[in-house]
């Protein structure tokens, strides 16, 4: 058995540039977790169904288990670690999840946060129906989803109100 081929990659994650040498078969999810020690991105089904591993790739929500790290070279990756401030203060989206009980065990939460972060950036005016549709992308086995929809809707409304107040 020969040594597996490794590829040398430059990845931009949460505004930091990293060089990694990984097997070509290493998914972006595993590279984030094992090579960059960004363990906020969770891995569950590994075939694109559950959404726990959702990150932003050039601003778009994407399944990091369905991408090889090599495919992410040249893109801007954002993970859940990018949401909170340097002092650990929660972002408005995270605060909304906390306030609306948008999580119980928390395993799926990083995926839902990055899904919502990407979606609201593109559709800040999204109504509840649109949010429900997008929430159907990911699986949660605790909350029954209603409080996740509530959380995202609450965050969207607060952002809209803040924008109006500053206009």
């Amino acid at each position: 058995m020969t040594e597996p081929d490794k590829v040398l990659l430059t990845l931009k994650v949460n505004d930091a540039v990293h060089e990694v040498a990984v097997e070509a078969r290493r998914t972006l999810a595993d590279t984030l977790r094992h090579d960059l020690e960004l363990t906020g991105t969770h891995v569950a089904c590994e075939h694109g169904v559950c959404g726990a591993c959702t990150v932003l790739v050039d601003g778009d929500p994407a399944r990091s288990c369905l991408m090889f790290a090599a495919q992410a070279e040249g893109s801007e990756i954002r993970t859940v670690e990018s949401l909170a401030g340097d002092d650990g203060s929660l972002s408005d989206l995270q605060t909304a999840f906390s306030a609306n009980h948008g999580l119980q065990c928390g395993f799926c939460t990083p995926g839902f946060l990055m899904l919502a972060e990407g979606f609201l950036a593109e559709r800040p005016d999204a109504d509840r129906e649109e949010i429900r549709e997008v929430v159907s992308s990911n699986l949660c086995r605790c909350t029954g989803y209603q409080t996740i929809v509530d959380s995202i809707q609450d965050c969207a409304e607060r952002r809209r109100n803040a924008k109006e107040a500053s206009a």
């Binding site: 597996p4 070509a24 078969r25 694109g48 790739v57 929500p61 288990c65 369905l66």
Partner: protein, 284 residues
Amino acid sequence: MKPPPFTYHRARDVAGATDLVAELGEDAKFLAGGQSLIPMMNFRLARPEHLIDIGRLGELSFVDVGPESLRVGSLSTHRAVETADLGAGFEVVRDTMRWIGHLPIRTKGTVGGSLAHADATAEWCLLAVLLDADIVVAGAGGRRRTIAASEAFLGFYTTVLEEDELIVEVAFGRPAPHAAVTEFAERKGDFALVSAAVDLDVSSGTVSGGRVALGGVGPAVVRVPEAERVLHAGGRAGTDLFETCAQAAAQAVEPPGDDDAGTGYRKALVRNLVVRACEEAVAR
């Protein structure tokens, strides 16, 4: 649940990609968005020795709207098509995108990847067959050819593409202002149990012809001439005609029964979905 090892190659252009795949042979596959290939690799259902990443070939990522036509580059994502202005008569293409998986799948999955994968319930295959699209492919040595969608899909995950051929675009040659696609899955975003698509020739409330295509009723997407004959016989656009058409479609197909749904249930879905697609098409 981890993909098997492979050697990674990154293509610089279409010619380089097709020449390399010809050189590496049948153990090499193109990697576009990876939304079908990578799950199959994670399950070890696919074990390509070489992957040729075509993800950077910007020349294949375009949506070109002409006065009477629509050309979509094979590397365009479903999401890019969903959010593009496709011009009058091609609303059905845009609206069909929402049936493809979920948002995070549509941001990465590509038109060409979906066509080449040729799942029997793939929305792009259904659209291509319904609207008689042309599929343009490039091969090694600079060869190019155009394949009619009606001749492209042979059976389970099987197309007429040669080993060295890469889909570069899909072209829709005529507008379809009264076309619609609908489907049913137990959960939103799952693979459809059955999908139905119609393209009606309708004017002043009278139907004078049209096309009917179905997914999930056999090894590949099919047109249903028996149902189309009902549309060609014509009549007032309404429940009677649509139900007759749907009944003809359900009788014409013999869908497989499996753990997800039996033959009878799939036929019942055909009946309901064809009526629904007709109603949506005429309401456009």
